[in-house]
């Protein structure tokens, strides 16, 4: 999924087969189905990912994690990467 295809206003969730391990730098994610490992490289990205389930949109999750304005494109890219590897998936809202 390219960045521009990632729907910031859509509802997203962590994939049910993904485990999250918080770390100093952010977190490790592991997908038990695809057996892929990913790194969340900032604590704010971890915060945003953990807020996805209870937020009405990815944009709202980012806002809740304190990600605003000029920081949003970089975080949108990161979320697009997570969606492309099935770490997060769309949620019926």
């Amino acid at each position: 999924m390219s960045t521009k295809d990632f729907d910031l206003d859509g509802a997203w969730r962590l994939h049910p087969s993904v485990a999250v391990r918080p770390e100093r730098f952010g977190a490790l994610l592991y997908h038990f189905g695809t057996r892929r490992l990913s790194f969340l490289k900032t604590p704010a990205l971890l915060d945003a990912v953990q807020r996805l389930d209870s937020s009405e949109s990815a944009r709202a999750a980012l806002a809740g994690a304190g990600v605003t304005g000029g920081e949003i494109p970089a975080y949108q890219r990161a979320l697009a990467g997570l969606a492309a590897t099935d770490m997060i998936c769309e949620r019926a809202s």
Binding site: S17, A19, R21, E23, R24, F25, L28, Y30, F32, G33, R35, L37, F39, K41
Partner: protein
């Protein structure tokens, strides 16, 4: 990969990202390059209950998956019980096998599980090349296991190849075998560890083959797994996919069949022994507090290599490869692509390299029907 994340990993994490767990030293084969000098079962092997307690620890530490090996792990009578226990406790399992126990029924069971991955060892794309290293009949055993897995509908299982001077030229043929069975190719570096310390000089790829291997890896990109084992080749130019750092004691480690914890799977030697899971505080304490691991997480000097323009790419190469070839740990890797390892290697006096320890090799090759002279010499099959 940002520099900051690499720096974080060099300082070590509170728990390994993944670890290798050799379940038994027993093996039906006697591969000439075996990292763990396997053959005979060790009578002090962890019991089923001890293994389960260790899995509980892994779960608590959120170690997402373990790479189970040996020896031949499937010859443990409690092997499937332990695999089921691990996956029920959110510890994924990838196990390495020579394929001896992968019957059609077992293949079906593996195909039905999302949480178990299997890796078939194959060190030649032909029986001739494979069996010279792994023993007569081992190619046929591995191929039969792959056929069973494929027929059961298992997809993306791994074919694990250790690169030698005899099989670098077969890379495309390995890829074709993987494609034939809907499997994924995984190639790793030959390490001079275990029995491999004795055979490395005759088996490791020639310098020009290293270049061939690097070019092949660049061309085949992320479709081929490497366990990040070729980071020393990054000094050719473009960094290879993966972490490109030595994770020993920082983000990976090895637990051996008797519970000894080593810095990495290629360093089964007392110099890299951090502790034992049976010690007070168990695995967690060894990982977090052992002197050896804390030392590995402290800034490393890099020695002579820090002056080299490629140091940022290769980071001095593999600690275990240096150790077992008798080179200083803060100098170049024996397979340094700039050739800086050649002179020091030539200067190592014959017979002065560290002896692999412990050694569970069988004293003589096992022949069917031979009466075992000790319980541990019983064939594990």
């Amino acid at each position: 990969m940002t520099a900051t994340l690499l720096d974080e990993f060099e300082l070590g994490l509170d728990a390994p990202i993944c670890l290798t767990w050799e379940l038994t030293y027993a093996c039906n084969l006697a591969c000439t390059h075996c990292l763990s000098s396997s053959g005979r079962r060790d009578p002090r092997e962890l019991s089923t209950d001890e293994c389960k307690a260790l899995i509980d620890t892994f779960e608590r530490m959120q170690i997402f998956y373990v790479n189970i090996g040996g020896g031949e792990p499937t010859v443990r009578s409690d092997f499937w019980e332990l695999v089921d226990y691990a996956t029920a406790h959110h510890v994924g399992v990838k196990f390495s096998t020579n394929g001896i126990k992968i019957t059609p029924a077992i293949a079906q069971r593996l195909a039905d599980s999302d949480y178990v991955d299997v890796q078939i060892s194959l060190d030649g794309a032909t029986a001739e090349v494979n069996d010279a290293v792994r023993g007569r009949g081992s190619y046929a055993t591995a191929i039969r296991a792959m056929e069973n897995l494929h027929a059961a509908g298992m997809r993306n299982f791994k074919i694990s190849v250790v690169m030698t001077r005899h099989n670098v030229g077969q890379l495309d043929a390995f890829k074709a075998i993987a494609d034939r069975y809907d499997a994924q190719l995984r190639i790793t570096r030959l390490r001079p560890a275990g029995r491999g310390a004795e055979t490395w000089h005759e088996l490791h790829p020639y310098p020009e083959q290293q270049r061939e291997l690097y070019d092949w890896l660049v061309a085949n990109g992320e479709g081929v797994l490497t366990g990040d084992s070729f980071f020393h080749l990054s000094a050719y130019g473009e960094a290879l996919p993966g972490l490109n750092l030595c994770g020993a004691g920082r983000v990976v480690c090895l637990v051996d069949p008797v519970g000894d914890v080593y810095a990495c799977p290629f360093a089964i030697h007392e110099q890299f022994l951090a502790g034992n899971v049976r010690d007070a505080g168990g695995f967690e304490r060894v990982w977090r507090e052992s002197e050896l691991f804390l030392d590995l997480r402290s800034p490393q000097t890099g020695g002579a290599c820090t002056k080299c323009s490629s140091y940022d790419a290769c980071r001095g190469g593999c600690m275990a490869a240096k150790f077992f070839t008798g080179l200083p740990l803060d100098g170049p890797d024996p397979e340094c692509v700039k050739g800086h390892g050649e002179l020091p290697l030539a200067a190592v006096p014959a017979g002065s390299t560290p002896r692999p320890s412990p050694d569970h090799s069988r004293a003589v090759p096992v022949t069917i029907g031979r009466r075992p002279d000790r319980a541990c010499d019983t064939s594990p099959l």
